[in-house]
Amino acid sequence: MPDLFQQHSPLVQIDFGELQDNAPTIEETPFLGYLNLRGKTSNMAFVAAVLKVLGVEPPTTANTMVESGDYRIYWLGPDEWLVITPTGQAGKVQSELNAELKDVFSSIVDNSSGLTLLKITGENATKLLNRDCPLDLHPWVFKPGQCAQTRFAKAGMTIAPLRDGSGFEIIIRRSFADYIGLWMQDACVEFE
């Protein structure tokens, strides 16, 4: 395994530590593993292989996510999922999936450095995100177990409510992370 301390987060130039008093808390969970998984759920061999390696079948209900041990699997499309693993485990999971899916139409692509995750929690979390996310994030409508691919300002994000109701996690692309960070910092002026 490479020296994990040699990594740099895409948010290396952003400090969320000193936001306004009433601003939500914004925290990055950097360096998780992200695998983009493609396959056909009509193919039993694909489903069985995923179940074997990840302990759960890929969710088939649109905009939902499932958890299995240390793994989380987000539905991204009818034949596309995002598998999130703990830091440093993406390579191992990728190899296991590749081995099981050797002769099955599928693709497992490591995108671990391409994405990062932010947790936005606190009373004003929804308010901050709805500053420029057009989705309805109300707990009646957007519940734990659901996820959605949407946008924040002019950059894409995948969002899911946290289980404990304290806020949301959002998954954003590395190259847009700095822009999103700056935008959020600017938006937090409202929470003085």
Partner: protein, 1002 residues
């Protein structure tokens, strides 16, 4: 000017808090709770501006959003706001307001000379007069613009912050009057998510003026209690000072909330305005109604005011708009104004009622209060200079078509007028419901909804309290039920009030011939009179949309809120048709003007206007002094100036260092797509123009993608990582488009192909290590790879390690040098970069940016798609036919390559250019001609697509697209520049450096 028109008691103002303000440089004072208009009236100021075209004195006419006259320039410098409606501007300490459109001053306006020649300036006057002679139009226009301007737009940057917000709800109620509050209450009590927006500071709408009782308490108490109950509900959001200005498809409404405009400048913190984008399951429109003015000669004189506005100023602001009032009406509602005036101690000269009789309870109450009522009469003219001093009254025929009898002169300093009410159907109409004319009520009512919305109360033409409350409760219940909530709130109780029918009166008959008497105004902001509409009709403009455009009726900042319906009535009468046949003009967003800042929100400046994408090495580039350039949304290092170097100096140094030893470029921004599956090679065969089936694993190949038109769309190098696994590079700007393009083909045309595509652009960080010493540098950093020339050839791809980190190294060259591209996961990008820098130190490794990259590739004649191509260039035009497979039966764009146009011999073809003077660099984009002395228009031979000074060649180099250029090597072309200089150049091939390619293959 310091006359005091403030009533001793009453009103919803805070007399404890005196507010000082300035108007046209003079100091005045009012109270907190005043609007600018009410505070001016309290000081006896009616006349606040001059009209747009004739510069006639104009006074405060209304008390709301419909105000055409009382528009002001607020503040100066960077905080200035043009065309603010004084009837809606909340008074704050040190407010600095001035009139618009007065020159040199309000009282002495030079342009009012226009008024004397009004008869010679009818509708269409500007079109007809100033178009001839044509050459003078620019001068006329300058004069007209100066003379007829409204407010001035700010000249300095707006210092305020603006914000956006998205919101969703079960029910959105627009309008916080008693109807809106009731609808919100019904749905809110049922537990629905409700939003209520209202444009005023206080909820309650027009009923705040009223002495009515609701549920056995005063209306204002009921409003206060209801607002408190709503505010306590968790799922209810109330927004005040928030104007719903647009109703779009799918129940999407835009609302502008003013957060700080009511505060003194020094107390304004945070955002000034917030634009809410609201999606609602159900919408209730409780937007109320606006009273119409009556149209008669000199009806625009200051001191003429809507009757309901008089009531509002008296009851809500405790201001007497005059001491002696004449009330002129064609309906019942103005009788309430008579009672309000009487209660406030305003002398009532007379109530002039156009109707032959009036015997409603309200009218009788007025009579029994000792107020004289003249039925079957009309005000035909007003007198006074800059303020009404008397009115002329005559008998009006029962059909309203003629006046007769003697003229009564009645002195007064206030004329309250009412021509009935127009429901505010703007949002309803915007939502797609076409307003319907109702003859009995003489008003346009909201049309049949096409979205999940309903209008209630006055907005629905229901002017009495009891029925409004009933409708609103029903609508609130229904909206809640539609969203799955059980709701059956009873309507708040109120007394019914019967009223008598209105006598529609679109214009008081004139005793003069059309166009001869004094002007009777329909649209006061744009100075459109009855005669203008009649003239438009005579000149053949019959469609209301045409009349609007010919006369400019409804074009002002008020968008004709007051005047349009009267104008349509006048047009209908002129054309002898009904108003239903005449119809309305189209209601469009925005209901009231919205500042540009509010529309932009936070999306401003270098960082937030558009996303700025950064690579994993961005911070390193910043720390090492890079200048950046935008490539698509990416910030890429442009060049790295040292010790104050210019761009040219830095680029020359970077080029030489790279060609002589080694340079390093951040190439992370190139698009990267993984192509995986049994049919991956087959798929690439269709996407690219060349062959992919036989490419060996571990080898890379360059390819072109064409559009269906056969033109070059994108290019790049793709590596075969495994039998069924390719790693594709696209151009930096083309990445997203290429992915979407390929997905389209897979999903719509070739669903049978087993191929999956995944973007990994952000996952990989790439450093291009370039130059004769690059092998030494990468082999010092990357383990596990045999870098020997024999075992790691040009276009080979290998996997190795940097420490324990896996890396992929591709031997690719975009410079003609020995070069390697090292790829690692981007989290390690900076680590890899620093390792390479450290290993390269002994070879003076030189970081270079996009400018040097461009020069190096141009020296080798490598094209950049999007610079040397523009969507009309084929592979053959580029002289790269070798990249077109001769054996494949098909690929995207192949068929188009045999079109007659793509086969033309005189197509623009890519060539090299060498200038006669080696130091001269032809500007990119320069046109090329064969004979600069030819008579104009000089035939164009082509244009320059890339041009640089090449330090390595010792002379400038350029690439150009020249007609038939491939057969013109050695010929001379000329680039004539805008400054009359002509650059002479010779056509060459495009390979300027190391023609044999020995260096790349070293």
């Amino acid at each position: 000017m310091s006359k005091n028109y403030r009533l001793a008691e009453g009103g919803r103002i805070n007399r404890e808090h005196t507010v000082n303000f300035q108007f046209n440089g003079k100091s005045y004072s009012g109270f907190a709770g005043d609007t600018l208009a009410s505070a001016l009236l309290a000081n006896g100021v009616h006349m606040v501006g001059r009209s747009w075209k004739y510069h006639r004195p104009r006074g405060i006419l209304s008390a709301g959003a419909e105000e055409p006259n009382a528009i002001f320039q607020l503040e100066k410098g960077k905080y200035t706001v043009p065309n603010a409606r004084g009837t809606q501007v909340e008074l704050y300490d040190n407010l600095d307001a001035s009139s618009v459109n007065c020159w040199p001053s309000l009282d002495f306006d030079l342009m009012s000379i226009n008024s004397k020649f009004a008869r010679m300036m009818p509708a269409g006057f500007y079109y007809k007069t100033f178009m001839w002679p044509k050459s003078m139009w620019m001068k006329y226009e300058h004069f007209i613009r100066k003379a007829s301007g409204l407010g001035e737009s700010p000249r300095q940057n707006d210092p305020d912050r603006y914000e956006h917000a998205h919101a969703h709800c079960d029910l959105l109620v627009v309008g916080g009057g008693i109807a809106g509050l009731t609808a919100a209450l019904a749905a809110g009590r049922a537990g629905a998510r409700v939003m209520l927006v209202d444009e005023q500071a206080e909820f309650g709408g027009l009923t705040l003026n009223s002495h009515a009782q609701i549920e056995g308490k005063s209306a204002s108490q009921w409003i206060e209690d209801t607002v408190a109950e709503l505010q306590a509900m968790e799922e209810v959001t109330l927004l005040n000072r928030a104007t719903a200005f647009g109703y779009h498809d799918y129940n999407f409404l835009t609302v502008n909330q003013r957060l700080t405009d009511h505060l003194p400048l020094s107390e304004r913190k945070s955002g000034r305005e917030k634009v809410w984008q609201i999606r609602a399951h159900q919408v209730v429109l409780a937007t109320g109604a606006a009273e119409r003015p009556l149209v008669f000669a000199n009806n625009d004189r200051p001191g003429v005011m809507l009757a309901s506005a008089v009531s509002t100023y008296v009851n809500r602001y405790a201001v007497k708009p005059g001491n002696r009032v004449v009330i002129f009406t064609n309906n019942d509602s103005a009788y309430q104004t008579a009672l309000d005036c009487k209660a406030a101690g305003i002398e009532i000269a007379v109530v002039v009622d156009a109707r032959a009789q009036s015997s409603s309870e309200l009218a009788n109450t007025v009579r029994s209060a000792g107020i004289e009522v003249l039925n079957g009469s009309a005000v035909v003219d007003t007198s006074g200079g800059k303020h009404v001093s008397s009115v002329k009254v005559m008998n009006l025929a029962a059909d309203g078509k003629s006046v007769s009898g003697s003229v009564k002169n009645i002195s007064c300093d206030l004329l309250a007028v009412s021509s009935g009410w127009s429901p505010v159907v703007h949002l309803s109409s915007q939502s797609g419901a076409k307003a319907i004319w109702n003859d009995d009520q003489a008003m346009f009512l909201p049309g049949t909804p096409t979205q999940a919305q309903v209008s209630v109360g006055a907005a629905n033409g229901t002017l009495d309290l009891k029925n409004s409350l009933h409708q609103a409760a029903l609508a609130g219940n229904a909206a809640a039920k539609a969203c799955g909530f059980d709701s059956d709130m009873a309507a708040p109780s109120a007394e019914a009030l019967a009223s008598e029918a209105i006598l529609p009166l679109w214009q008081v008959p004139s005793i003069h011939a059309s166009g001869r008497g004094p002007k009777a105004f329909v649209d006061m902001q744009n100075d459109v009179g009855v005669a203008d509409i009649q003239l438009a009709a005579r000149e053949g403009f019959h469609s209301v949309e045409h009349v609007k455009r010919y006369t400019a009726m409804g074009f002002g900042t008020d968008q004709g809120k007051l005047g349009n319906i009267n104008g349509m009535g006048v047009l209908a009468q002129t054309l002898g048709q009904s108003i239903a046949e005449t119809g309305t003009t189209t209601y469009r967003p925005n209901y009231t003007p919205v500042s540009f800042g509010a529309i932009a929100g936070q999306n401003l400046g270098d960082e937030l206007f558009d996303p700025v994408r950064k690579t994993a090495m961005h911070a390193w580039h910043e720390e090492n002094g890079a200048e950046f350039e935008n490539v698509g949304q990416w910030k890429r290092p442009w060049y790295y100036p040292r010790n104050g170097e210019s761009l040219d100096e830095a680029v020359n140094r970077e080029c030489l260092a790279t060609r002589e030893s080694v340079g390093i470029l951040d190439a992370s921004t190139l698009g990267k797509i993984e192509v995986v599956g049994r049919d991956a090679a087959k798929f690439l065969e269709m996407i690219y123009t060349n062959n992919w089936m036989k490419l060996e694993v571990g080898k890379a190949r360059y390819g072109f993608m064409l559009g269906e038109d056969g033109m070059v769309m994108d290019d790049g190098v793709t590596v075969r990582i495994a039998e069924n696994h390719f790693y594709m590079h696209t151009t930096t700007g083309g990445a997203a488009g290429v992915l979407a393009w390929m997905e389209r083909w897979l999903q719509t045309e070739w669903p049978e192909l087993e191929v999956f595509l995944t973007s990994v652009t952000d996952h990989w960080a790439t450093a291009a290590v370039v130059g004769p010493n690059s092998r030494r540098v990468v082999s010092a950093v990357c383990d596990g790879i045999d870098f020997s020339a024999d075992n790691f050839k040009f276009m080979d791809s290998r996997v190795g390690k940097i420490g324990d980190l896996e890396c992929r190294v591709n031997r690719i060259s975009f410079s003609g040098e020995l070069a390697y591209e090292v790829n690692v996961p981007a989290n390690y990008g900076r680590y890899m970069w620093e390792e390479l820098m450290q290993a390269g130190a002994e070879y003076n490794i030189t970081p270079y940016g996009t400018e040097t990259m461009h020069v190096l590739r141009a020296e080798k004649g490598y094209v950049i798609v999007g610079q040397d191509t523009d969507g009309s260039v084929t592979v053959e035009d580029l002289g790269m036919s070798w990249a077109l497979s001769k054996t494949k039966t098909d690929y995207i764009g192949k068929r188009s390559l045999n079109r007659p146009d793509t086969l033309r011999k005189d197509r623009k073809q890519l060539v090299g250019l060498v200038t006669e003077d080696p130091k001269t660099v032809i500007p990119e984009g320069a046109q090329l001609v064969d004979n600069p002395g030819a008579p104009m228009p000089v035939p164009m031979a082509g244009h320059v697509s890339s041009s640089y000074y090449s330090a390595c060649c010792g002379h400038s180099i350029a690439m150009a697209l020249v007609k038939g250029g491939h057969h013109r090597t050695g010929e001379t072309v000329y680039a004539p520049l805008a400054n009359d200089r002509v650059i002479k150049a010779t056509i060459t091939d495009t390979n300027f450096y190391d023609k044999e390619g020995a260096k790349a293959n070293a």
